[in-house]
Amino acid sequence: MELLNSVIMTVLRMATPILLAGLGLVVSERAGILNIGTEGVMLTGALFGAIGSWAGKSIWIGVLCAVVGSVAVNLIIAFFSITLKADQTVVGTAINILAGGLTVTVNRSVFGIGTDNADIPLFQKIEIPVIKNIPIIGAIFSNQTILVYIALISVPIVSAVLYKTNVGLKIRSVGENPRACDTLGISVDRVRYSTMFFSGIMSGLAGIYISLSQMSSFTEGMVAGRGFIAVAAVVFGNYTPRGVFIAALVFGMADSLKYRMQASSYHVPYQFWLMVPYIITIFALCLYRKNSNKPACSAKPYIR
């Protein structure tokens, strides 16, 4: 039982950053933006969160900085891909390269190079009074940091916003048929910019989760491909929040399996466990061919 709890907790921990970023991406991808640059955006969030929390002596200032940093980078991507109609892949690639270099440099000039971790306020684990006492669920769902709860709660919220609200309808429509939206008086660019704003917030949270919840400081290159995985999770999850949730769990599961397998005596080389999620994504991509929710105008700039 304890083992199960622990496995589930690992899965949750590993899944959270992918889930957070993925939920943001679902929204912007539904509006027709394929954001390869998420990796760089998350890195920025991770670093800015650490800086903010350290300089402001409060985790909440950290959260604010992470969000501001990520949103800013995401809006740069938006500016290039929406206003300048640049190729979204290219913009994303450029941002990844840029952020990779900039975070290293900024990190060093801010935190210096030392063993003494600067004293960074971190996320505190939260105990939820009632749930805490329920046997299994209590162990899993109580005593996590707030971002895990935000990620979990965001799944139904994002789902509701996408499918039940006026804004959500606009977002989905803009990705499907921008021209039709234009004839109905919806500003395609404005909707797309807003989704990039939101996705920036989520990527920022994902970033600071990695640096200050999963870990306790920023280290260089710490996002380690999770941004790309988040992009893949959206495809794998067939562009729905619930799907992204499942995808994030699968990715988290594969990650946790890797450690379990090393700790046990099964010796399937861990690299193969690590490959699994990527291969599953490719399979998912092939299978969704007919029933894909992929927006019809994904990754295409709208030119009036």
């Binding site: 390869i36 640049a86 840029l98 990779g100 690299q271 092939c286």
Partner: protein, 367 residues
């Protein structure tokens, strides 16, 4: 449709000037950032230059670094010409490197020339197959190459990691790092300038640029691929198969990336290690875009990026600017290049608006 402004915008000379301006602008902004961070930009740039062009040796190093960039850039451009965006150069490069290493660490009876040739061919073949797989996934299942290539990058990287920690691990060496055995002498690429690391790989890369030019502008197959990439409908009308040509282009693209991996192994690395390619794949994409997929453009932009990464070491070693800063400069250069759409976008917008109107007119006429 005749638009003077538009014409000048795509003029090669204009492109060259624009690219040069982008580089300068990126350097200025990066310099400012450096200044803010407490480094000395001018001093750093001096070392950057010294490290890339300062001596025969630095020139050779620049050429060494340029070699895989040219190959991955041409790989990206080849796929791009057929309308495919191949973000998988990294993975294809690894697959090439694996197969090359397998051949190059075995078969010690082979004469040198043959051993090298077979090793290179193995790399090309492995990369080509991996690239073709992407084309196949697209034509059969409609899976977007954007995602599949990124996913396959990881698969290949983990495969390398598995091989060098497991089956291909060097158990006889002086240290126990996860790496393959050293390749045999008979498979090492001959040096081009003795005493440096510059090997004939650079010549191969230059040859590839020439072949790239010949292929797309002077062969029937290349021409057909370009038609598909530029206008699928016209291709259909002329009976040029989209699936076939995109598959061929992806295979060539993957093969070139595989060749990059092969040359790295045979000429530079001499053994397979984890993550030895680093960001080569993505830098190749950047070089291709910077050179707007033209042979000359790719040559110059690869040289630029190659010079940067060869100078980066010197800049770091002697001006103490972190290596990572080169990425900042590269990222900025790409962004400035895309910024070209700023004026072009506006003009295009007008053009396309006109076109749309025409289209709607046409629709009005048709039905």
């Amino acid at each position: 449709m005749k638009n003077g402004k538009n014409k000048t915008l795509y003029d090669p000379l204009f492109s060259l000037i624009y690219a040069a301006l982008s580089v300068i602008a990126a350097l200025i902004i990066a310099g400012l950032v450096m200044k803010i961070m407490g480094y000395r930009p001018l001093n750093s740039y001096r070392y950057l230059l010294q490290g890339s062009f300062g001596s025969i040796n630095s020139l050779c190093e620049t050429a060494v670094k340029t070699t895989p960039l040219i190959l991955t850039a041409v790989a990206f451009s080849t796929a791009f010409k057929s309308g495919m965006i191949n973000l998988g150069a990294t993975g294809q490069l690894y697959m090439g490197a694996i197969c090359t290493t397998l051949i190059a660490t075995n078969f010690d009876q082979l004469p040198r020339g043959i051993h090298i040739t077979i090793s290179l061919l193995a790399g090309i073949a492995a990369g080509a197959l991996f690239g073709y797989l992407v084309g196949l996934l697209k034509s059969v299942f409609g899976a977007s190459e954007l995602i599949t290539t990124i996913m396959l990058n990881y698969v290949a990287a983990y495969l390398v990691s598995f091989l060098v920690t497991g089956p291909m691990k060097d158990t006889k060496g002086s240290n126990s790092n996860p790496q393959s055995c050293q390749i045999l002498e008979s498979a090492k690429l001959p040096l081009f300038v003795p005493g440096s690391r510059l090997n004939i790989g650079f010549l191969i890369a230059l040859l590839v640029i020439v072949l790239y030019f010949l292929f797309f502008w002077h062969t029937s197959l290349g021409y057909g691929i370009r038609v598909i990439g530029l206008n699928e409908n016209t291709g259909k009308y002329a009976g040029i198969s989209k699936n076939l040509n995109q598959g061929i282009a992806m295979a060539i693209s993957g093969g070139l990336a595989g060749l990059a991996g092969a040359i790295e192994i045979l000429g530079v690395q001499t053994r397979l290690t984890q993550a030895f390619a680093g960001d080569l794949g993505f830098e190749g994409i950047a070089a291709a875009l910077l050179g707007s997929n033209s042979p000359i453009g790719i040559l110059f932009s690869s040289l630029l990026f190659g010079a940067m990464s060869s100078g980066a070491g010197t800049m770091e070693m002697l001006a103490k600017v972190p290596n990572a800063f080169i990425s900042v400069i590269q990222g900025l250069i790409i962004l400035f290049i895309i910024g070209r759409n700023l004026p072009a976008g506006k003009i295009k917008e007008v053009l396309i608006k006109k076109h749309v109107i025409k289209e709607e007119e046409a629709i009005g006429i048709i039905e």
